[in-house]
């Protein structure tokens, strides 16, 4: 319990760092980007409205500490400012539309990739002298060496454009009404297959390699030799004796990998015009929509922090030692 609370404290601290970075960045960068940002509003808004906006964001003549306080208060009320690209929608509203799709895509591909990669890693360590154990890891590493979004481009061109087997863009069909209907779900799944597969392919190699290395270490332990000597069936040694222990370091890696996978899936979304956070991010970059960019950064960071905490909870469940000690 103490462990869980201590981790929670750490994530709160990390969130505070992210929020503070978000506050400081526009203020410490050269060339006063804050003014540049408000200059973009100029054509669309009355000068009084711009002044009011400045006030809302805390870009006033007040001292830095006062500005910071205003900013924190706005944060707590969920006010991330107004988007420029989707003017005049508030950033929170714009992000709300994308968050669901990102969580679905990145979350499901991460789980599939972890499960599949870890299982293959176990098998690759067990059969490490066979062709399977020798060829699969280098092959998957080669696939993993491609940038995610390039694999996405290739998949889109090959299966979407040339073969026409999968839809080219968006998360669901044009004529499908969103809702919990069978038709909508089928369409959403069909649209998610290509992006999800590219993310899984690109990340699986790492899980496989990590698990294979842990497994080779664990298989060298005396208790494994003893289990072999007892004549236990291979499957039991493999999954009940070795894999359970070898998985613990992989679990710690899971939390760290989360950030990487989310980053990669952002780029993949752009290729498939998948309406998640990544797509919003590139819209924001193209139109220099700083509030939206920072909003995307904050929501993704918070999502990753929450997910990390959930992984910690799972770790406590997997490793009994964590339950008793601090």
């Amino acid at each position: 319990m103490r462990f869980v609370l201590r981790r929670l404290g750490f994530y709160v601290l990390a969130a505070w760092v992210a929020v503070t970075l978000n506050f400081l960045l526009p203020r410490i960068m050269p060339g006063d980007p804050a003014s540049a940002m408000f200059a973009r509003f100029q054509g669309q808004l009355q000068p009084e409205a711009v002044a009011a906006l400045r006030e809302t964001f805390g870009f006033t003549d007040a001292s830095l500490a006062e500005q910071y306080w205003t900013y924190l208060v706005h944060m707590f009320h969920g006010d991330l400012g107004i988007s420029i690209a989707y003017f005049p929608s508030p950033v929170v509203e714009v992000i709300g539309t994308g968050l669901f799709w990102t969580l679905v895509l990145a979350g499901s591909s991460l789980v599939v990739s972890f499960a599949l990669g870890t299982l293959l890693g176990v098998l690759a360590a067990w059969h490490r002298t066979s062709a399977f154990g020798r060829l699969l890891p280098p092959l998957l590493l080669f696939v993993g060496a491609f940038p995610y979004f390039w694999l996405a481009m290739l998949a889109l061109w090959l299966f979407g454009f040339t073969l026409g087997a999968f839809p080219l863009r968006h998360a669901y069909g044009e004529f499908v009404e969103p809702g919990w209907t069978l038709e909508f779900l089928a369409s959403a799944i069909r649209h998610a297959i290509l992006p999800a597969t590219t993310i899984v392919l690109a990340t699986m190699g790492n899980w496989l390699l990590r698990m294979r290395n842990n497994m080779t270490a664990v298989l060298g332990e005396d208790y494994i030799a003893f289990a072999c000597a007892k004549g236990l069936p291979a499957g039991r040694i493999l999954f009940h004796y070795a894999a359970r222990n070898a998985m613990l370091p992989s679990m710690t890696g899971f939390g760290m990998a989360l950030g990487l996978v989310v980053s990669g899936s952002l780029l993949t979304e752009i290729i498939f015009a998948y309406p998640g956070q990544g797509y919003l991010l590139i819209q924001a970059v193209r139109s220099q929509d700083f509030p939206l960019m920072q909003g995307v950064f904050l929501t993704i960071t918070l999502a990753v922090l929450v997910a990390n905490w959930l992984v910690d909870l799972a770790y406590v469940w997997l490793d009994p030692r964590m339950r008793s000690s601090g």
Partner: protein, 298 residues
Amino acid sequence: MIALLLGHPKARVGFAILIGFVLLGALGPWVVVDPLAYLARPHEPPSSAHWLGTTGQGQDVLAQLVGGTRVTLVVAFTVGVVVTVIGAIVGTTAAYFGGRIDDLLSLIINVFLVIPGLPLAVVIAAYMPASPFTITLVLVFTGWAWNARIVRSQALSLREREFVAAAIVGGESHVRVIVAEILPNMTSLLASCFISATVYALGAAVGLEFLGLGDIGMVTWGTTLYWANNDAALLTGAWWMFVPTGLCIALVGYALVLVNFVVDEVSNPRLRGEQHWRDVLGRTALTPMTATPVMRQP
């Protein structure tokens, strides 16, 4: 150590690919035509005049590929070196001094590790003037923590060894103990840190430039992909605009991973012993047991 690495075919392949690309980056720009010149009609497939076809603006794809090698590699390797140096300094400092200093540095490292890198890099890069220097700076800022963490855990165990204690008792300064006693014992770890950091930087730099955060007037592998996406290469079926660039990125990345593999094998006695074990057993027509053997190389 290099000689030890070169004994492995994997490392030889890796080094050969890397040297090839370094030469391409260094000498290539004098061999090919101006990558920014408008030479032919847009979206032309590969032909004898333009081996890899033309871009959406009628520029030569091969020339862009060769011309982009230098900047891309320089950014990737610079980030790799700087990140490794920062990681070594922060990691050993934290492990060596321990106590409050370690608590504070570890906390900073962990916070940086848990904040997702790409969105942060995007936000920072967007506020700065677009250039390869910006990309390098941003990638160092978002990527140093991983190495610091790895170095710290290794240094923690070295800190407990007798020779470090002996050096401290012998009256050597803190800096000297870290630089002359601890760091030289982590050469293979630092090498593998440098390689992983370079792989990360290569992918991340290309990713940022692909998003349009690089200097889009320059020719690099990332901006080539940016233009390929912008000029709708995918929807016109112009595969030659993005396939060769991606292959080059993957080749460099894979070559680095191959070298890293061998660094691992050379420095990890378990992995080193296995090949020899298998050879011995093969001679006596036995199949290796499932457990990993631990043995000394003869």
